[in-house]
Symmetry: D2
Subunit: 334 residues, 4 copies
């Protein structure tokens, strides 16, 4: 049985607590949150113990692994603390919004050999993963174009936006990582980014975008298009299209049921897409955690680690520069 | 150039006139209709000549072929007249509603060698024909089940119903023939029929059904289900599903455009199905006539002839018997 | 916490054990199986205790409810024992293959007020349930036709067939019940059944069918078509189509992922349908059990009970008579 | 009857000849082609007369309108000649590859009031037109993103490529125009273009691209993505997606039939997309010509004229500049 400490008991922390509890080989031991009420509640619902400091949760011999789902600015601190205490680490994306803090953290934990997994959940979605496999096994021949559509069902509030680090670092970072996942060992070398504020007053107040498009290129010449919106009235729109010399594979949207309706104005109508990430990526969140547990048990590196978190952030940062300068930016991964 | 006389200038006659005119190797010479105004109008619109008797249209050396689209009770008379005059004959379905008249006509024209084609247009639909080919070339292995859904968009008027010969002989006859087409040389041997009057007041007045289901069996054991309705609010519903030992092929509905809509209550919504037979089977009607012209040119028997019209009627008659007696009826093709 | 005894630890019993274990308000206490090895294994995997007689499992004060997943001939015995001991009862379908045993059991438990739920899992499938709701709330106007396609991915072995009670009682019984579920308070009054042995040697040996079609009528005139096969190479084919005066709703097949493939011979290709009932109806099995627990907690009658099990069997029996006599049979529910 | 002279009797000229011939109010009088054999053949097949100079075809009192389908460098010369002779003009896209020649031509015909229509056929496709209507009538609320996928089934030969003026001017020009069509009176103000040579040896020899992506912005802030390829093994891929504040509308691909196949490795498989432009846009080509005839009859300006041809070329030229400089280029329409 692997004993875990959960850092952060907000919406996503609560979801992780339930996943841990449901896993036959994992046990939720401690819950820490800066808001003690949140910690107590999640602890209670999952037969765990609420603790009042990060150290109590992390630096404890009972604990094998920590799951970091706290506010982004605390991530690097907990990663460092966990790594130094020899714990396996699962950290929600992003590692941090500031590349300097990410680099410092990388230096701090340099040479420490613990499994670190970053929460890029979409890599574990069975449908998106089929696209990656089709690229890998050359089912579609040479990959030539990759097109990712990623639109939230509705915009978040102003508080969220003010802390989120901007649309590209908060949202598109998933798509940058998904592109990297599908490309495999063919790195992304260039990015052109285009942001707009078209409808969301909160985004305007936060000086953020609500709509964006991107074109990226890989070293092998693969062209990647990403488009994002903070609002899609028909649900959480999550599509991936990989086009190659021998065909195309599309990971399509998913609806709550397989029902189709016919009436006097429309036919074959499906339901709106599954509403948001916890529903749409339920299977992915579960399998992501399975992978973490398997990595610990088999003492192997998780398939998505610190370096992946850092690289996606570097692309996001280059995207901001491209958007500001209105030109294509080469990405420097050093 | 093949010169044709058109018998009947109603809705379907008008459509045939346009198809003849558009064909590069056919010429519409004469138009006859019991309503002289109809004949004149169709003649005028197609650079043809209206004539005032069937004999003038049919028994004329200029004429190579006749196309019979007049009222059903006149069909056998015109077939006989045309055959005796040595003309190629295209006759709309059904040959007649009365099997005795069909049998008499068969006897009358026995031994006369002219091409006779019956207007079972659905055989010429490119999508349905793919189902027939898939059966023929064993793409789906052994055919085991055939399921035909055939629902009109809206019910006809009382006058039509009073003359139509009943739902099974007017509507299902197409599905009986389509089943025979797909089965190829495996004959239908049994029919069970179930009719209901669920919604249409005119059908009730005409003592007719508006909703029906059928189960048929072929000699080889293929099971066939047909369902019919006089009304489908989402358009003309025309589906054929062939299920076999190695897979399934479905000929699906068709919409006017390839547009799909997404909004806050539905996704992937297509338009209603093409509204009715002239739109849905436009390609089939054209290719049906091409086949007639080719048969004349190549002096060969059309792929769907008098025998097919008679056999479909025999199944419809057996269906009425089954429905009356509430039991399965064996079909006697003698 | 509701403590359960599981009767039967075969494939379906094992699945139920896992569902019980995963439920936050249920506890698997005892496992009984005529094969003690099966019982021990399932007990061990679910922290329960294997017992060596039905009485030990059922007649025990610790036990609140029993879940019967044993061989069909034992069902009525366990129902009776459980009811007399005052336990809530969940029993897999069918109650029994012999209507006399079902009637006897009904008499035996007459007047005993315990919740009894029969395992017609498809009623709890979210997609099929939307069809039932659409009928209920008249979203499609008046229901006129109901078409159920239900084809297993592959045929069972000879042992299974010899014990299964025949295709109509083993397989179609689900579709009879699903029809009854969707019709609501409009009873099925007539059945016409057509069975064939087209491909399965084991079915032939067991004197059973592998392919079947049915037409049923409800009191209100709704026409129902069911078709069944023991084998569909493209997966477990489970479709429900409800057609009415204002439209149509279809519960369609489901695939493991939302991937579509495009290559030089096909486009928009989805994966084969989810392979079999445990995968396809995973959500339904879970929610079926939730409903059982809720019924116990709220001391109310489960929505699908003994009467439903009996009625579906009466339809199956009438179907056999129809098939034998080649005529429509009225169903007597007395 | 409107009498036409056809300039150019190659593949596309031949298609136009057939469309003219089939039109009830149009008559093909003269055919001119630099290759006299081509001219004779097309003339013969359409009951027209081959002439040996442009002047004979255009400057003739019998002629009401000219249809220019000759090599691109001859377009402006024939437009000028036709306009000065007072003929209505239909000209295939592009007007010319050289903006200077386009501007000169514009000056030459300035003040001459004849209908001029440019052959942007996609505007007349019923499916794409529904997208434009949905934008216009605000069915999808405010348009925010437009995504056009346009991929040819197979690359052209080297000769074609050497004369075509480059991928952006030859192919993407259709997508630039389609974007302009859907945007209506909201002009495109910026373009970012990205070309690659990934697979086509001929394109490499012609120093041309075979794969490209674009991001454009309109004055109102609408973001437009276009992606192009010279080869798609699954057919001519022509999709348009318009995303807005109240929903989305997609004009999807079209297949030759409505057949779907199911086997042991895939389900719901459709056929490859209609192979190329003459098949896919058959309806659009016909209705484009209808519109030209209606414009002549009603003495009104065609909905897509010289200015549209020029503007699409200006965007293509800006796209080349963007691709060269790796930055976003503002479009100057002066």
């Amino acid at each position: 049985m692997i004993n875990l400490a959960l850092m952060g008991a907000g919406r996503i922390g609560k979801m992780h607590a339930e996943i841990i509890t449901a896993h036959p080989e994992a046990n939720l031991q401690f819950v820490y949150d800066v808001n003690e009420g949140f910690a107590s509640q999640v602890a209670k619902q999952n037969d765990a113990e609420a603790v009042s400091s990060p150290e109590e949760a992390i630096i404890n011999d009972k604990i094998n692994a920590i799951l970091i789902a706290s506010a982004t600015p605390t991530h690097t601190q907990f990663i460092t603390m966990g790594a130094k205490a020899g714990k396996a680490i699962f950290c929600e994306k992003p590692i941090d919004l500031d590349i300097n803090k990410v680099n410092e953290c990388m230096k701090e934990i340099n040479g420490i050999d613990v499994p670190i997994q970053i929460g890029f959940n979409r890599r574990f979605d069975n449908s998106h993963a089929k696209v990656q496999q089709a690229k890998l096994n050359r089912e579609i021949g040479d990959l030539e174009m990759l097109i990712i559509t990623s639109r939230d069902p509705e915009p978040p509030g102003l508080d969220y936006l003010n802390a989120a680090g901007g649309f590209f670092r908060d949202t598109t970072i998933h798509d940058f990582d998904l592109s990297r996942f599908i490309l495999g060992n063919d790195p992304i070398i260039e990015v052109s980014a285009f942001g707009e504020n078209l409808f969301d007053e909160n985004a305007k107040k936060a000086e953020d975008y609500d709509t964006a498009m991107f074109v990226l290129k890989s070293k092998a010449g693969v062209m990647i298009h990403i488009n994002n919106s903070r609002r899609a009235v028909y649900g959480y729109d999550q599509r991936v299209e990989a086009f190659g010399s021998k065909g195309m594979i599309i990971s399509n949207n998913q609806t709550p049921t397989s029902v189709e309706r016919y009436n006097d104005f429309s036919t074959s109508s499906k339901e709106p897409a599954l509403h948001f990430f916890i529903q749409r990526y339920e299977q992915a969140y579960r399998d992501q955690f399975n992978h973490f547990i398997e990595s610990i048990k088999n003492k192997c590196k998780p398939s998505v680690g610190f370096e992946d978190g850092r690289n996606a952030l570097l692309i996001a940062n280059a995207a901001y520069e491209s958007n500001r300068l209105k030109k294509t930016i080469e990405i420097n991964y050093e």
